[in-house]
């Protein structure tokens, strides 16, 4: 295997609040390659979200090494991290985090507004929305669509800059099971198309949609294994 996309060595993270030091992550090491679909799984408080924030350049590690595409991320300035977030990663959050009182299209365009890419951004954003089956919702406001549709808007937003990795933080947590299936189906399809996906969840069931599971407990890796009986989200309409 050539160079991994993400290379983590002895990653530690601690929060300092006054004189109290809380250690959240205790020396994690793993690699993630391009094209993988990894679940980071663990109970709440295990440190999985913190790990995702560090991997997604939203937070910095305290000690250890983080190479992204062979580049040492720990040495980067805030603005360089912002650029990485813009170009290399897309986030899907449990609570969707769409802008209120704004159209679906404008939400999806948001990452393009912060990038230096040229091109007709309305066109790009519309295409991505069509690819997640929301071509008919382009000009709706975000309060006019269902929860499942909101999460698909968020996925479209994560995809619009054509990132290297998509981070999905409990993407089905606020959805009914049918919408949850749709969302997982899209993520699996994206992975089939070659996208690297990192899914953060506390549910074993959801995590088994990935190809590989990294189990976190108390800030340490408990298990790191390939999924044997992978689950497939079946939604004929979404997978066509």
């Amino acid at each position: 295997m050539s160079n991994p996309l993400i290379e983590i060595k002895n990653l530690e993270k601690e929060y300092v609040s006054g004189e109290v030091v809380t250690k959240v992550l205790h020396g994690l090491s793993f690699n993630i390659n391009k094209g993988e679909f990894v679940s980071i799984m663990g109970p709440s408080g295990s440190g999985k979200s913190t790990l995702m924030h560090i991997l997604g350049f939203l937070d910095r590690l305290s000690t250890g090494k983080y190479l992204f595409n062979n580049k040492d991320v720990t040495q980067l300035e805030d603005d360089e991290l912002a650029l990485l977030r813009n170009e290399e990663v897309g986030f899907v959050f449990q609570a969707f985090n769409l802008l209120p009182r704004t159209t679906v299209l404008d939400n999806v365009k948001l990452p393009l507004l912060y990038s230096n890419k040229k091109g007709n951004i309305d066109e790009i954003a519309t295409k991505v929305l069509e690819s997640v089956g929301l071509g008919h919702r382009v000009n709706y406001f975000t309060n006019q669509i269902s929860g499942g549709e909101k999460q698909r808007v968020a996925i479209a937003r994560a995809l619009v800059n054509n990132p290297s990795i998509i981070f999905a933080d409990e993407p089905t947590g606020n959805l009914d099971s049918k919408s949850g299936v749709q969302v997982m189906a899209i993520l699996q399809k994206l992975n089939d198309l070659g996208n690297t996906i990192i899914l953060v969840t506390h549910e074993t069931y959801t995590s088994e949609h990935a190809k590989r599971i990294i189990k976190i407990k108390d800030g340490m890796i408990e298990e790191d294994y390939l999924v044997k009986n992978r689950r497939y989200a079946n939604d004929g309409e979404m997978l066509k």
């Binding site: 939203l58 912002a82 813009n86 170009e87 985090n97 704004t102 948001l110 507004l113 912060y114 230096n116």
Partner: protein, 417 residues
């Protein structure tokens, strides 16, 4: 860089549109502030032009002679309430002599005092204008009933009085005044005439005063020998400079001043023009003072903006977190919030400017309708001032919330409920 700007402005506009009601209410503070500044400057300018035109109407071929030397460009000391006793009745007589100042038509000299008038049980306090026969010629004004006093009465300490129309109404009501005897500060006077109503011109109420021969006021009431002001009417506007020179020569000769440069003068000769300039200086100061007070409301509006922007930053914490998550740099977040504040103040400034101009225009219309010679004056200067001040207010009061927004930790911001 330019792209960034356009992007930040677009983001700001859509954020403002997403919150129309609040954006407008925030803007209202600036609208009122800018409107108030425009209106006050316009009304000030209108009132100023009104006063100036009234003063011009008094006669531009008048020359004023005041006691005391003038400071460079400033008003004479006597205007400031300092009593200077260098001018006398005889000076006025000398100026009025054709041998000394050939271009003069007439001279009116004043010693002013205040007094209580009593007729029967009625009393009324008013200002006593000790003046000369030349008053009617120099100042204009007409006698409605009876007559003005004569040259003899002016000189021989006659106790005669001509009432202003308002004084007559206050003291006599509808009764006949001419021929009655009244008491002024316990001295008995005969009412010989009543002036025609003239109104208030340039802060001076012409109707609320009585005219008494100047010597009578000096000796009987004020107990002084000096006078406060001489006004001289020149036969032709072209001769004003010559007449002023002649008056100066006459007075220097009488006061034994050999210095012809004017540096040692104990009097000031002013044309109506310089008096006008002085009046403009004073009214300008008043105008800008009022505008400064009005701009306090801009300050208040600015604080309102800061307050709302801070609320907005807190309320939109998740949005800020998300924007950062999708790649917004601190600078871009800062720009967006700063632009939001600037757009609010800029639009507020424009709307306030238009509103203020319209209201000023209506005020001018109403004033003209009421018979005042009122000009509608909104200067480019006041417009530029209002708009640039409102943008500055946006920058000053938008900066702190914008910095606060840009410093939010993206994770905390995303978690924020």
């Amino acid at each position: 860089m330019f792209n960034n700007f356009v992007q930040a402005i677009k983001s700001s506009i859509s954020a403002l549109l997403a919150n129309k009601g609040r954006s407008f209410l925030t803007m209202l503070g600036i609208i009122i502030g800018v409107g108030a500044v425009i209106i006050i400057i316009a009304v000030g300018a209108g009132a100023q032009s009104l006063i100036v035109s009234q003063v011009k109407g008094l006669g531009s071929n008048l020359v004023g002679i005041l006691p005391g030397k003038s400071e460079e460009k400033g008003p004479p000391a006597s205007v400031m309430g300092i009593v200077i006793t260098t001018l006398t009745y005889d000076d006025a007589q000398a100026i009025n002599d054709k041998k000394n100042v050939p271009n003069l038509v007439d001279v009116s000299a004043y010693t002013k005092s205040i007094g209580t008038l009593a007729w029967g049980s009625n009393t009324y306090d008013t200002s006593l204008s000790g003046s000369t026969v030349g008053y009617l010629e120099v100042e204009g004004g007409e006698v409605a009933e009876g007559r003005f006093f004569t040259k003899e009465e002016e000189k021989n300490l006659s106790r005669v009085v001509v009432l202003g129309s308002e004084v007559k109404d206050q003291l006599f009501g509808t009764s006949e005044a001419v021929g009655q005897r009244i008491k002024i500060n316990k001295h008995s006077f005969e009412v010989i005439g009543v002036m025609k109503e003239r109104g208030t011109v340039a802060f001076q109420n012409y109707d609320d005063q009585v005219f008494i021969p100047i010597i009578t006021v000096q000796k009987l009431i004020a107990g002084v020998n000096h006078l406060g002001l001489i006004r001289a009417k020149v036969d032709n506007q072209d001769n004003i400079a010559v007449a002023m020179k002649d008056i100066e020569i006459t007075l220097r000769e009488r006061h034994n001043i050999s210095d012809e440069s004017g540096a040692s003068d104990d009097f000031t000769v002013q044309s109506a023009d310089t008096a006008l300039d002085m009046l403009k200086t004073i009214t300008n100061a008043l105008k800008y003072f009022l505008a400064a007070i009005a701009s306090l409301s801009l300050l208040v509006g600015g604080i309102g903006i800061m307050n709302i922007m801070l609320v907005s930053v807190t309320e939109r914490t998740r949005e800020i977190g998300l924007r950062k998550a999708v790649g917004a740099t601190n600078f871009k977040i800062r720009s967006q919030f700063l632009f939001e504040a600037i757009i609010i103040t800029f639009l507020g400034g424009i709307i306030g400017m238009i509103g203020g101009t319209v209201i000023s225009f209506l005020i001018a219309k109403v004033a003209v309708f009421l018979g005042y010679d009122w000009e509608f004056l909104v200067s480019i200067f006041s417009i530029l001032l209002a708009v640039s001040v409102s943008i500055s207010v946006g920058i000053i009061f938008g900066l702190y919330p914008a910095i606060k927004a840009s410093k939010l930790n993206p994770i905390e911001a995303l978690r924020y409920e």
